[in-house]
């Protein structure tokens, strides 16, 4: 194996001694040309795992590395040239044009006093075309819909010309079409440009269709990891989510789950 692009090895995180570990002995790795989806219920530690991986939170034990190098040895702008991140939420407080926002994807490449070069502008144009935001170029960010803003942020990450993408709930505010478009784009980048993609998602069915492998987390630990058909079993999901779940299969063998109805118990006869 040529070494993982993104890797956590037995990583634990404890933000406060009074609290249980947010991350408990978690290992995961994403190779180049691979899409890994990180799934699990709310509070499972998915975002903490990303933050640990990106060096934004200190590890209690274990190791986080990017392209084989310990995360602590990366300079932040060097890291930004290798890893593009779309975080869960981001609300600019000042008026900002879409073009300005995407141009910030080139900041890690610019010297303190240097102006963007032709290569920088090309990268921005390519990223805008890739994320289908060329028509938004002259809009103010505050006038964008949630889906448009998400695509702009993806374009900014692509402008970084990264070798790995990290996306935290990228489709939370997207409708069906835009969600599918975004995942198709990510997979296209993974297949054609050999990017490594790590995607946190609540949408298990979509994750199952796109990701090469899934890592299912619960309460800070990895419960199950492997191909979607291995991870998404009725038994595991029902226990992790605390709700009865059934699984069926698409014709290509991809598992799709649906939660069972669990009608409310009739009110007790106190009234």
């Amino acid at each position: 194996m040529s070494g993982a692009a993104l890797q956590l090895e037995r990583a634990s995180v404890r933000l406060s001694p009074a609290l249980p570990r947010q991350l408990d002995d978690v290992s995961l790795s994403v190779a180049e040309g691979e899409c890994l989806a990180l799934v699990g219920p709310n509070g499972a530690g998915k975002t903490t795992a990303l933050r640990a991986l990106l060096g934004l939170v200190a590890l209690e034990s274990g190791r986080a590395s990017v392209f084989g190098r310990e995360i602590g040895s990366w300079d932040r702008s060097e890291l930004a040239r290798s890893v593009g991140v779309v975080s869960q939420r981001e609300e600019p407080v000042f008026p900002l044009l879409v073009a300005e926002a995407i141009a910030m994807g080139r900041y890690p490449y610019l010297g303190t006093w240097s102006q963007p070069s032709a290569a920088d502008r090309d990268a921005v144009q390519r990223a805008m075309a890739r994320a289908d935001v060329v028509s938004l170029e002259h809009r103010w960010v505050e006038t964008l819909s949630g889906g448009e803003w998400q695509r702009v942020r993806l374009a900014r990450a692509l402008a970084q010309e990264p070798r790995a993408l990290v996306l935290d709930e990228p489709t939370a505010s997207l409708d069906l079409r835009h969600e599918m478009e975004l995942f198709e784009l990510v997979i296209d980048l993974v297949r054609r440009e050999n990017l490594a993609a790590l995607v946190v998602s609540h949408h298990l069915n979509v994750a199952a269709r796109f990701a090469d492998r899934l890592v299912l987390m619960s309460a800070g630990r990895v419960v199950s990891a492997g191909a979607p058909s291995q991870v998404l079993t009725a038994e595991t999901l029902s226990s992790v989510f605390g709700w009865p779940v059934s699984v069926s299969w698409l014709s290509d063998g991809t598992p799709q789950l649906y939660p069972e109805r669990k009608p409310l118990k009739p009110l007790s006869n106190q009234e």
Partner: protein
């Protein structure tokens, strides 16, 4: 290819003209009743000695000071706004000015009030104030809420103001008089030495802010996105807080407390041209300077021969801007 990113160059020319106009107005307005022609002759070293003295030794340093102080306050405001992600931030509202003036008053009280020494004392005061403000805001939670930060700034500013009054109340009358005059905020009476001291104190800090301009762009997206885009957030914050404290201290030591320049000027520019700090900071420096020189011209001429403190004029202009911003940010929160 046409860059879609807004070009500050288009604003810089009118801004420069406005800047020159403010200098011309500042030179010709005043109690001595000099005609523009006399002023022009004095500038070239001709004309009457009295006119020459008034123009070269009184008005010119006063204008130079106004350009510097206004520019410094506006740049500092713009940087602080990006840092705390709140368009309502300015050195005055964040308590920096209050801390700096307490430091400076203590310096006056102890008799070390030279144009070179006072900024050092003011710097210590400003750093102390921002440290306390930061601590107070942290109490409310690990995620720094910029509204609480501002509240903490106002509280610390008021506290520093009370201490300043206390120090003045128990000090000797001569020291009090000089301190009171200076606290009101004004550009008169420091002369070329003051201008030089201010320039020397502020140049390194302005340079640091220029270095951090792109990181300020990133920071105003939020700390986490900034890090993903390559900013070393902890380092940038440290540098900007220190530079802002130093700049506020230097401005306060030279001209007393002048509020709202740091609020109104960056806001106007952001409305015009989006948010890239590499353009915003120099533009704010130019517009802030011109604004303060004009405010000072107004302060000198409105009730001539009486002179208003220039801080009164900036507040009269700045507070409505604050009100508009406040209304907007509250509506923005609800949306």
């Amino acid at each position: 290819m046409g860059s879609p990113v807004p070009q500050w160059r288009g604003v810089m020319v009118p801004l420069l003209l406005f800047w020159l106009l403010s200098v011309a107005i500042g030179l010709t307005v005043g109690g001595a009743g000099l005609a523009p022609f006399d002023v022009a002759r004095a500038l070239t070293g001709e004309g009457e000695p009295t006119a020459r003295a008034i123009v070269l030794e009184l008005r010119l340093p006063r204008i130079a000071l106004g350009l510097l102080v206004g520019g410094i306050l506006a740049v500092t405001g713009a940087a602080l706004q990006a840092l705390v992600r709140n368009p309502l931030a300015d050195p005055y509202l964040l308590g920096l000015s209050g801390g700096a003036s307490l430091g400076a008053v203590l310096a006056i009280q102890m008799g070390v009030a030279s144009p070179w020494g006072m900024p050092a004392a003011a710097f210590a005061g400003a750093l102390g104030a921002i440290a306390v403000v930061y601590r107070l805001a942290r109490v409310a939670g690990s995620a720094l809420d910029s509204r609480i930060l501002l509240l903490a700034g106002v509280v610390v500013g008021a506290f520093a103001g009370a201490l300043t009054s206390g120090v003045l109340a128990v000090s000797e009358s001569a020291a009090v008089r000089s301190a009171m005059l200076w606290l009101l905020g004004g550009l008169g009476g420091v002369g070329w030495t003051g201008v030089l001291a201010l320039a020397a104190w502020s140049a390194p800090a302005l340079f640091v802010l220029a270095l951090e301009a792109r990181n300020l762009d990133l920071l105003s997206l939020g700390e986490e996105p900034a890090q993903h885009l390559g900013a070393d957030v902890a380092r940038t914050k440290r540098r900007v807080y220190v530079a802002a404290s130093l700049l506020t201290a230097a401005a306060v030591a030279a001209a007393g407390i002048i509020g709202f320049v740091g609020l109104a000027v960056p806001h106007l520019l952001r409305l015009l041209r989006g948010h890239g700090h590499r353009g915003l900071l120099p533009a704010a420096f130019a517009l802030g300077g011109a604004f303060l020189v004009l405010a000072d011209a107004l302060a000198r001429s409105l009730f001539a021969p009486l002179e208003l403190p220039v801080g009164v004029v900036t507040a009269v202009v700045g507070v409505p801007v604050f009100a508009v911003l406040l209304r907007r940010s509250v509506i923005g929160v609800k949306r």
